[in-house]
């Protein structure tokens, strides 16, 4: 009963956070709202007996991915709503229309189905999750790690500072090795 109440509160927070995030003009504020939403999602995951996903949601999503967004916004100085182009109200119309249709249809489909039996399975221990991950989906792990490697190489290549013009005196163009962005 308590858990149910907590779930509804969290769902409300997640929805509110997400809505505010996409309507906010200011990117940094939007990211803060989204992080709030992600936190409540993490707790929902925890309630759904997936502590590992919950913790990774915080470590990876809130702790790494969103921080990366923040980093890029801060570094490129994009946090000026007056300079950035925020959508005109007319641009919201097709978005609202299409999302509305989709949401209504989806809700109709879900509700029209008979309610599935709500069993209460035991929580899966982390050991079991890990065993599944590395023994049965080992190939997928390898593929994901390869993809991460490619992303790393790609990001390194894209982020590399363009070679400085040769007219500068030599002392000024010495860049720290292996670092794309000089801070």
């Amino acid at each position: 009963m308590i858990e149910q109440t907590i779930f509804y509160i969290l769902a409300a927070v997640a929805l509110a956070g997400t809505l505010l995030a996409i309507t906010e003009k200011h990117p940094v504020h939007a990211i803060m709202y989204l992080v709030t939403s992600l936190f409540s999602m993490a707790v929902i995951f925890y309630l759904l007996m997936a502590p590992l996903v919950a913790v990774f949601e915080v470590i990876l999503y809130a702790g790494a991915i969103m921080v990366l967004f923040l980093f890029v916004i801060m570094m490129l100085d994009l946090g000026h709503p007056e300079k950035g182009i925020s959508p005109h109200w007319k641009e919201w119309l097709p978005a609202l229309l299409l999302s509305g249709i989709s949401i209504t249809s989806l809700a109709a489909i879900i509700v029209s189905r008979h309610a599935t039996v709500s069993v209460c399975p035991a929580a899966q221990p982390i050991r079991e999750v890990a065993r599944r991950l590395f023994q049965e989906h080992g190939m997928a792990v390898e593929l994901v790690s390869l993809q991460l490697l490619f992303a790393l190489v790609g990001a390194l290549y894209l982020g590399k500072a363009p070679s400085p013009p040769t007219t500068l005196p030599e002392k000024e163009v010495v860049k720290s090795p292996g670092e794309g962005v000089t801070l």
Partner: protein, 329 residues
């Protein structure tokens, strides 16, 4: 009194005690740092307020509370208010998963000396320490000042870089203890602390947590020689105090974690467990202060080089070696 309400009462007492001890310790750590740094520099340090200067933290607190609360005109108000809290709160929360003593038995109730015995305690710590980045980044950004912004960006890059080596250095611990649970990790070190098996991981962990709590030689985000005070340049009064005390809570908490992961937690001969735990924690904190008195600050590229090209590969090699060793055993 029913068993349930007794449990609740005991829990509340435990919580209050932990809060009180942590905050007091943090305040006194500031004092200890000032005294020890003074000794390193052949000075005496603050010794005026109260006997041996012991009331100095109180005086500092009163000073900070009564200061004018200045908010820069161009600051982003809400984020500016939010940032100090985001720096301090995760640090305190981490302590909730650290077992600081052997389980007690009071009124026939079993009372584990840890606030929340999560089965993913180690990951909980990692997640909270990754949240702590926001305090620095938002604080630096919301101030709308170039020094603060630079400090914030530096802090961001530094923290997410060292997070990686910190997490990787803990993997051998999980491999050895076969659990994410802090209590299990401590129990696995009942006879021999993990530092004996994992000296390399310990070194990596120590370096990484030094960078995580932004202390010398990794204090680039607040490098006062270059950036005035880095990300908290524009803060004053109690907001600054929150940043400040957050940093020292962080030291205590990370010291406790180092003790838990590598130094055998509350295990130790003769003395009661909690005393052993605080001794180890304070020893790590002392080492932090000693390091601040000794080492110069790194350059930014050296910092990144150390994190990505030295510590992270070393931690990976360490994991491999541990795996081999376990497979052979």
């Amino acid at each position: 009194m029913t068993a349930f309400s007794l449990d609740i009462t005991l829990f509340a007492i435990k919580l209050a005690l932990v809060f009180f001890v942590i905050l007091t310790l943090a305040a006194y750590l500031v004092f200890a740092e000032r005294r020890i740094l003074a000794w390193v520099q052949d000075r005496k340090g603050p010794n005026r307020v109260g006997p041996f200067g012991l009331l100095q933290p109180l005086a500092d607190l009163i000073k900070l509370l009564t200061k004018e609360d200045v908010i820069p005109g161009a600051a982003d108000r809400w984020l500016f208010y939010l940032a100090p809290a985001m720096a301090a709160i995760p640090a305190i929360l981490i302590f909730s998963v650290i077992p600081f003593g052997a389980p007690l038995t009071i009124f026939g109730r079993n009372l584990p000396l840890v606030v929340a015995d999560l089965n993913v305690g180690l990951l909980f710590f990692l997640s909270l320490s990754s949240i702590a980045v926001y305090g620095v980044a938002i604080g630096g950004w919301a101030s709308n000042s170039k020094y603060a912004l630079l400090g914030g960006i530096r802090g961001l890059a530094q923290l997410i870089s060292y997070e990686l080596s910190m997490g990787l250095s803990l993997v051998p611990i999980v491999m050895l203890s076969r659990s994410f649970n802090m209590a299990d990790i401590v129990a696995a070190q009942a006879t021999i602390p993990f530092i004996v098996y994992q000296p390399l991981a310990f070194i990596i962990f120590m370096l990484s947590i030094t960078a995580e709590c932004k202390r010398i030689p990794f204090d680039l985000p607040e490098a006062e020689g270059e950036l005035v005070a880095g990300f908290h340049t524009e803060y004053s009064g109690m907001r600054f105090g929150l940043f400040f005390v957050g940093e020292y809570i962080n030291i205590i908490v990370l010291g406790g974690l180092a003790a838990t992961f590598f130094l055998g937690g509350w295990h130790g001969p003769l003395l009661p467990p909690t005393v052993w735990f605080s001794f180890k924690t304070l020893a790590v904190a002392f080492f932090f202060i000693w390091m601040r008195g000794t080492l110069p600050r790194l350059r930014y590229d050296q910092l990144m080089h150390l994190g990505w090209k030295v510590l992270t590969p070393l931690a990976l090699v360490n994991i491999l070696i541990t795996g081999w060793w376990l497979a052979l055993k």
